[in-house]
Amino acid sequence: MDAIILQTLNGLDKGSAYALIALGLTLIFGTLGVVNFAHGALFMIGAFCAVFLQRILSLSTITIDETQKDFLGNPLKVETPYVHNWFGPETGSLIIDWSVPLAIFFAIPVMIAVGFIMERGLIKHFYKRPHADQILVTFGLAIVLQEIIKYFYGANPIPTPAPDALKGAADFGALFGFDPNVIIYPYWRLIYFCFAALIIGAVFAFLQFTTFGMVVRAGMADRETVGLLGIDIDKRFTIMFGIAAAVAGLAGVMYTPINPPNYHMGMDFLVLSFVVVVVGGMGSLPGAVAAGFLLGILESFASTTWATTTIPGINQIIIYLVAIIILLTRPRGLMGKKGVMED
C-alpha cells in the first residue's frame, strides 16, 4: 500500500510538470494554431530565470584574505555578497536562500516579454504556413535559445536549491495513520504539485470567468466570427502566447530545486509534452491537464521493480504504448474535439 501511495505521489509530481507544459502548448495551439516546438525552451528559460536571479543576488565584493590560500598558493579572494553588506549577513543569506521563490516574481514579466517577442518577431510570420514549416522554425528557435543559454551558463547543471526551510521530507503517511517514516515525501515536490494545481486553476478561471477569457474562448471556437464583431482577436491571442510562455516559465522556475537546471532540460520534456497534448486531445485544455497527470502516474508505476521485472523495458515505453492505445481507441485523444487538426 505504501508503495502505491508513494508512486501515486511521484506520478502526480511528474504529471504536474507535464500538465503545465502541455497546458501552455495547448493554449498556443488552440488560439494561434501553431505547433510550438520551442515550448520546452520556454520551460528551460524559466528555470534559468531562477539561476539568473540567484547569481544577481549573489553578486559579491572581493576582498583578499592573506591568511588563506587559493589552489595556486596565492592569498584567497573572499567573496561577500552585496546583499550581506546591505542587509546584514543573516538577512542577506536569507534573501539568497529564497532566490527560487523570489524568481517567480522575476520570471513572470520576463517570460511574458519573451513570449511577446517570440510571437511578434518570428512566429506570426508562420501562421499561414503549413504545420511542417511551423515545427521546423520553432524547433530551430528552441536550438538557438538553448545554445544561447549554454554560451552564458555552460553545459553543466547548476545547483539551484530550495530554501532551507523547505528542504527535507514530510512524514506524509503519519497524517493518514501509517507507521512513522513509511511514507515520506519531499516538501518541495508537494509544493510543486500544489503550485501546479494553483496555476492550472488560475488559467482555467481566467478563461472561464473574465471577459478577456470569454473572448479568447470564442476566438478559439470561431476566430472569423469574433473578428467580424470588430474585436482584435490577434492582439488577445498574442497576450495568450505571453501567458502560455509565463506558465511554462513558472513550471521551469519551480522545477529547479527538483533537478539542477541545464541548457538541455527543455528538450527532455518537449517530446513527452507533445505526447501528453495528443493523448489529451489537440486543443483541449482539460484534456492536456488530465493526460499530463495520467501519463505521469503511469510512468511512475511502470518504473517500479515489479513492473520492470514483469515486463522488462516497460518503464521506457509506457507513455508511448498508452498513447498508441488511446489514439487507436479514441483517435481524437481523451477530450479532443471534432475538426481540430483534421483538415
Partner: protein, 450 residues
Amino acid sequence: MSKSNLTRRGLLKTSAIAGGGLMLPTYLRAAAHAGFTNAPQGDTVTLGFNVPQTGPYADEGSDELLAQQLAVEHLNGEGDGGCLNTFTSKALKGNGILGKKVTFVTGDTQTKSDAARASAKSMIEKDGAIMINGGSSSGVAVAVQGLCQEAGVIFMAGLTHANDTTGKDKKANGFRHFFNAYMSGAALAPVLANEMGTDRRAYHLTADYNWGWTQEESIVASTEALGWETVNTVKTPLASTDFSSYITPVLNSGADVLVLNHYGGNMVNSLSNAIQFDLLNKQVNGKDFKIVVPLYSELMAAGAGENIKGVLGSMNYNWQLENEGSKQFVKSFGEKYGKPPSNSAQTCYAQVLLYADACERAGTFNPCGVVEALEGFEFDGLGNGKTLYRAEDHQCFKDVLVVRGAQNPTSAYDTLEIVEITPVEQVTYAPNHPMFGGDEATLGECNPGA
C-alpha cells in the same frame, strides 16, 4: 623535330592513375613512404583531439581540450614546460616530437559513438592525425579505439571507466591511462568497511548501458566480498531525468546503503533526488543510511552542489594531490587558465605526453614502435605517482583516490576532499580476470596501417 609518344589512350590511362592517386586518403598516400598510416611529412606532426564540444559533456570536453593544448605547448618548448620538468622519462626535450613541431586538430564526439567515429575518421583521413586522444564516455572510447585499430593509428583514451575498454574490447593500438570500474570497487571497499561496517544492505541504481553494468558488477563483487548483502539492482534508462520513482522503492526495501552507478547529469539528478527524500537523515536496520557514488568528477560535484556533502566516491586524479608531478601540473594549468584541472583534463594531458615520450624512446612514429615503447613502461611525475602501463591489456596501474564531498568547501574548487590514496597493489587484478573478458579477450596484433 621532336616526336611525342603521347597517345590518346596513354593520356587517359595516366590521368586515371593520377586522379586515383589524388583521391586516396592522406593516410594511404603517406603510408607509401614510411609503411605506416599518416607518417609525418615535413617538419610537423599532427595529433587529433577528439572531445565532446557539444552536448551534455561539453564542459568536460572543454577542460580536456585546454589540457591537450597545454600539453602541445609544453611539447613544443613553450610555456613553463609543465610536467616535462617532473616526468621521470627524460626523452622529451621541448622540441616537439622527434624534432617535429606538434600541431593538432580537434573533433567533436558529441558523446555519441557514431559522431565520435566520424570525427576521428575525418581527422585521420583528411587531416593526417597520427594519434587520437580524448573523450568522456566508454561507449565513445570503445568505438574510437576500434576505428583507430582498423586505421592503424594510436588511440590514447581520455575519460573512460568501463572495464571493457581494456577488457573484452581492448585493442593493440589502444591505451588507457584512466582507472576503471573494477579499481573503483577495489579502492572503495576497505573505506566502506571502515566507515560503514561489514554488515550492510546495498541497493543499486544503475545507468542502463555498458559502463553502468560493469560498474555495478564491480561494486557488487567488492562489497559482497566485504560481507554486504545486495538487496536489489535496478537499471534506470539513460534518458531519465527524474529518479523519484526509482528512489521511493529504496525507502522501505530494507536497504541501508544506496549505490548510484550513474555519471554526469544522471548522477547529479539521482543524487539530488535521493537527498530530497531525506535518505541521509534516515535510520535503517539501526544504522545511518548512506549513499555511495563510485565514480566522481569535479563537474558532477559542482552540478550536485551541497547534495554531495559527505558522500563517498572514487577518482582517477584530484588537483589536491601533493606529489611533485601534480603540483607542477596544477601550477601550469592554473596559471594559464585560472582554475585547477579536472581529472579528465589530467588524464588527457598525461596521455599526450606519454604518446610523445613513447615516440621519442622508440625513435619512430610507427604505431607498432610506439606500442612496444608503451607496453610495460613504468613512470612517475605526471601527477598520479608511480604508474605502470601494463603490457597485457594496455591499462595503467597506479594509486586510486577515494574522495568525499567536502563538508565546508572554501572555494568552488574544493568540492571534494581526498579520504584515502589506495595503493596500486590493492587495485591490481589479473589480465585474464573474468570481468575483463577472461582468456578470450586479447589485444590482437598492432596495426601500423597500410
